[in-house]
Amino acid sequence: MKLDYYGLGIAKGLMVTLKHLFRRPVTVQYPEQTLNTSRRIRGNELVWNEEKCTGCSTCAKACHIGAISIVTAPNPEGDKYPVEKYEIDTGYCIMCGMCVEVCPFEALYMGAGYEKAQYRRGDLVQSKEVMKYTSEKYVSGYFYPEFAAQLPLQTLLLEKITEEE
């Protein structure tokens, strides 16, 4: 007879449940609260610095899938090509960050925005006007420690649960 064990397993299980009643909730109330993302976040956008870009197309070569399309005009004098078209198709982009890593002129950064869902496939293509770098833009510190230092610390589940926006 295992009478003395009877129900002990259930009691043990319920004890664990009971403990959880007194723990802090882990849920993020997303649209109202947002998490601070990582300082190196690779969001669903790229930020393109027009002043620094020379139109060398290294980023387009590094891309696996040809998500970056770039058209430049010839420029006999000077060492920069004027960029006529600079587009990224976020429908193809996998945010691997290779283009940012290889850019020799530090003209391309990862963006931090991730709310980029669209109703239409064509809207996923980001043009150079959308991607243009301005000092107000929230740029990720992926491969750019000087940007990373300015960003807020990441919210960790380990430490605190959420931070009010």
Binding site: V26, Y30, R121
Partner: protein, 199 residues
Amino acid sequence: MDLVPTRRFVYSDADLDQHEGEVIEALKARSQQPIPDQDQWLSEKAPEAGILLTSVDKVIDWARSNALWSVVCFPACCAFEFISTAASRFDISRFGMEIIRASPRQADLMITAGTLTWKMAPNVRRIYDQMAEPKYVIAMGACGISGGIFQSSYGVVPGYSRIVPVDVYVPGCPPRPEALLYGIRMLQDKISKAKVFRK
């Protein structure tokens, strides 16, 4: 009397494999072009309708958009971001969709979490066909939108829009849970704009 099994409906494994191959090839031949997005009406001006119909519309749309039940269609990587979204930290049940249905008959939302291959495509199409109207599809991640990095591969469908009509595209590889939730909220917006009674 001896009962002799007719084996009329017993197929050999080779027959089944052969049949599966034929189905795949047929679907592949049929879906060379993406299905166009069916949302021209989103930018259209709302047609005139009576007060009664408008309020009935509102009630129905409210009910539809706040109880989206998702069907199990998680072929690949994005499934784990979907699990994270459904788990306690991002808690999808705040939007009335905590139930993830294994049966397509009880679901009205398909979140296409992962790469679709041609071998899997007939099954996905069948799941979609079995879902009850009205049904919605969220293409999650680069593979769901366009095939992503696998688009040049011989076995991969370049985007779910070849197989099923897609309502919302959520880019990312995989999208963060917040991004998926944003996509779900966009879908809810879209549903709440829909006119149930249209001329």
